[in-house]
Assembly symmetry: C2
Homo-oligomer: 392 residues x 2
C-alpha cells in the first residue's frame, strides 16, 4: 500500500478530520499504534507490527513515524513523510527483558515538548498494557486520554480512491470464490483446496496482484462449522456436510471479505431454510441501507428474516471494513446490531454477516457492501446460493 496510492490532498484531508476529532476530545498529541491507522495516515506498510511502533500526530506539523531502527528504511520507502519525521528506537532493545521501546518514545516526546494532553489507543493489539505503563509512569496517567477508535472512526466513510481499492479487492474475492467452486470436490482434502484459493487471491488477475488478507481463511466443515473461527485441516470433503469459506481478497491492504457455503449432496431442509433466511436478509438489508438509516435498523432486517424462518440469530450481523492488518479486517467502530444507533452515511462500507451457527452445522453467506443513496451495493459479484455438487 504505497503512499502513492493516494493524493497529497487525500492525506491532508485525513489528517484534518483526525485533528478535528482530537480537538473535540482535548488531545494535543495522538499516538497511533494500530497499523491500519498508521497506514491510513502515512502510507506505512510492512510486517513490523510485532514490535512497538506508532505514528504520532501532533496538533500541528506532519505526522511522525516511530519504530525500530531496522524498519526506518521501510518507513522511508512506503510513507510520504520527510526524513526528519522518521524516528526510531534502539535496535538492541528488541524484545529485551530490561528495556522497553516506549522509553525511547518518551524521550522523543519530551524532545518535541509533546508531553501534555496525549491520546492513546487503549484497546488495540499493538498498544500493550506494558507500553501504557511505561508512558503513564513517565508522563502521568491523568495526562493520557483513551483515544481507542478515534482514527478508525475517521476511516468509516471511504473516499472514491479507497472505494476503487475495495472494488479491486472485491474482484480478487470473486476470483477466489470462483476458484473455490471449481475445486470443491467430494473426497478432496480441504487443505489442498485452501492452497488453491489462497494462491488465486495472491496471484490475482491480470493487472490485479493480491496482498495477504488480515485474517486467514476460515473454512470449517460439518460439525466443525458449529464453531465460527476454525481455519482448516486435511479432512476430505465429505458427503452431506456443509462447508463455509470466509475469505477476502486484499488489494494494497484493502479488503472485501465474503463468505459462501458449499455442500456435497443436497442440503437438508433445515439448511435450505437457513439459506432462504440469509438470502432474504441480504436483499432486505440492501434495500434498507441508505444514508440516514441507523445500524440497528438495517440489522433488524437480518434478525427479522431469521425469525420468520424460525431461527434466532444471537450475534451481531455486520461491521465496517476497509484497510486492515492482522489480526482483524474489521474497523472496530460501529456494529450492525440492536442498540447501535449510528446513522449510516454514503460511502461507508460494511461486511454484512448473516451467518447462522447451530450445534450441528453452520451456514455463512455474507457480502461486503457500500452505502449509496439507493441502498446497499455489493462490492463483489459472486453467486450467493449454496453451491452444491453431487455426493457420488
Amino acid at each position: 500500500m504505497p503512499a502513492s496510492d493516494f493524493s497529497t490532498n487525500e492525506y491532508n484531508a485525513r489528517i484534518a478530520k483526525t485533528r478535528i476529532a482530537m480537538t473535540e476530545q482535548g488531545i494535543d498529541t495522538l499516538i497511533v499504534a494500530d497499523p491500519s491507522n498508521m497506514a491510513w495516515l502515512t502510507g506505512y506498510d510492512g510486517w513490523s507490527f510485532y514490535v512497538p511502533q506508532a505514528v504520532i500526530l501532533h496538533a500541528a506539523g506532519d505526522p511522525v513515524w516511530w519504530g525500530r531502527t531496522q524498519d526506518r528504511p521501510g518507513a522511508a520507502q512506503t510513507t510520504w513523510l520527510p526524513a526528519d519525521n522518521l524516528l526510531d528506537w534502539p535496535e538492541e532493545h528488541v524484545q529485551h527483558p530490561d528495556h522497553h521501546p516506549y522509553e525511547a518514545l518518551v524521550t522523543h516526546l519530551r524532545d518535541r515538548g509533546w508531553t501534555k494532553s496525549l491520546g492513546v489507543e487503549m484497546d488495540n493489539y499493538y498498544y500493550s498494557a506494558a507500553s501504557h505503563r511505561v508512558l503513564s509512569d513517565a508522563l502521568g496517567a491523568d495526562n493520557i486520554a483513551d483515544a481507542t477508535g478515534l482514527v478508525n472512526w475517521q476511516r468509516a466513510v471511504k473516499s472514491d480512491a479507497e472505494l476503487l481499492m475495495m472494488r479491486k479487492a472485491g474482484r480478487l474475492s470473486a476470483h477466489m470464490h470462483a476458484t473455490l467452486r471449481a475445486g470443491f470436490k467430494l473426497g478432496r482434502p480441504k487443505h489442498e483446496l485452501v492452497a488453491e484459493v489462497q494462491a488465486a487471491g495472491i496471484a490475482g488477475l491480470h493487472d490485479l496482484p493480491g496482498d495477504y488478507a488480515a485474517i486467514a481463511p476460515i473454512a470449517p466443515s460439518g460439525r466443525e462449522a458449529s464453531a465460527s473461527h476454525i481455519t482448516w485441516n486435511n479432512r476430505p470433503l465429505t458427503a452431506n456436510e456443509a462447508t463455509y469459506f470466509e475469505i477476502s481478497g486484499c488489494y494494497h491492504r484493502y479488503h472485501c471479505p465474503i463468505s459462501r457455503t458449499l455442500f456435497v449432496g443436497e442440503p437438508p431442509a433445515d439448511i435450505r431454510r437457513a439459506e432462504e433466511a440469509v438470502l432474504s436478509a441480504i436483499a432486505d438489508t440492501f434495500a434498507a441501507a441508505k444514508p440516514g438509516t441507523t445500524c440497528e435498523d438495517v440489522a433488524a432486517c437480518v434478525y427479522e428474516s431469521f425469525a420468520r424462518a424460525g431461527y434466532v440469530k444471537g450475534n451481531r450481523t455486520g461491521y465496517p471494513v476497509g484497510l486492515s492488518y492482522p489480526p482483524d479486517w474489521g474497523e472496530r467502530t460501529m456494529s450492525l446490531r440492536p442498540g447501535d444507533t449510528t446513522p449510516l452515511k454514503e460511502n461507508m462500507t460494511f461486511h454484512l454477516m448473516p451467518g447462522l451457527w447451530t450445534p450441528d452445522w453452520g451456514v455463512a453467506i455474507t457480502e461486503s457492501f457500500v452505502i449509496t443513496p439507493t441502498g446497499g451495493q455489493p462490492l463483489a459479484d459472486i453467486p450467493r446460493e449454496i453451491h452444491t455438487i453431487p455426493s457420488a
Copy 2:
C-alpha cells in the same frame, strides 16, 4: 493443532512446570492471553484472538478456557478441557463501546474466588491496556503481577513430540524453498511467485498438510531489501537484484522459518562477501551451539564472522521459535545477542538470523535449528548458497 497431537502426560508436564514458575513468582492465578501459550496449555486453536480470550491457570485444577460465546464450540472441539471449564463472555459485548469483555472475566474470577495474586502478560498483543485497566480497577493493580513470558519460557525446551512437529514444518519449509527456486525467473512478477510458494506451504506434501504461518512472506528485492519487513509487490524480478524470501512452513501451528537469497545474474563482490560471512557464521554457530553455551557466546560467532568480512551487524542474530500465532513466530524470551547470558539447553530451538541490511541491498540466509549435545542441528535441509539464475 488439535489437543490430540500430544499426550495427557505431556499436557500435565507443561502445566506442572508452569505452576512451578507461578509459585516462584508468587502467582496463584495466571491469565494467559497469548494464543500460542493458550494452545500450548490446552490445544485451543482458532482465529478468534482478535477478541479478548484467555486460558486461566489456577494453582490447582484443570485450566479454564475463557472467550466469546461464539467460540465456545471451537474450544470444545480443539481443547482437552472438560465442558465445565469452558467459560464465555456475552456475544453482544463484541467490540462494544460501553462494555468490555474483561468485565465478564472479573465476574468469573470472583465466582471462583480467584481474585488474589494474579499474573497477566503485560506485554502481549492480546492483552491490551484497556483489558488491564478493567482488571486493575476491579481487583487492584497491586494484586496483579507482570507475568509476561512466564509460559513462553516453559516452552523453550521442546518435547520429542514437538520436535517432530517442527521437523515436519521444516519439510514444508524445504518444499516452499524448492518451489521458490523453481519459479524464480527473470521478469516474473513477484506476487505470482509468492502465490506459488504460499500454495506449496499449504498444500504441502503427501500426508503433510500445511497451516498458515504466523508471519506473511517477507520478500523484498533490490533496494526494497534494505528494509527488513517489506512483504511483496507485483514488480518483475530484475537483473542484478538480490531478493530474499523469509518464509516458514507451518505444521499444526509449529514453525520452521528459513530465509534464502536469490539473485538474477552474478552477485557483485560485496554481496558475495556478505554471503561468505553468513555461511561461515552459520557453520561456526552450529559448531558452538551446545548445551551450556550462552546465547551471547553463540551470537559472537555471527558478529565475528561479519567483522572478519568487514561488515558490522547491528541487530540481534536469532530468537527461539516453535508454536505460534500471528503476528510473530518468535517466542519472545531469550535472544542471540550480546548481553544475553541465558545458557542453552538440549532441545531448545532457534531461528538463527544472520542477515545483513545495507542502504542498497539486503542478504538473509537463515536457519531454524535445535540444540543437541554435538551442536546446532538444522531442522530443514535446504541449499544455503545464493541461488542465481542467468540475467538474460
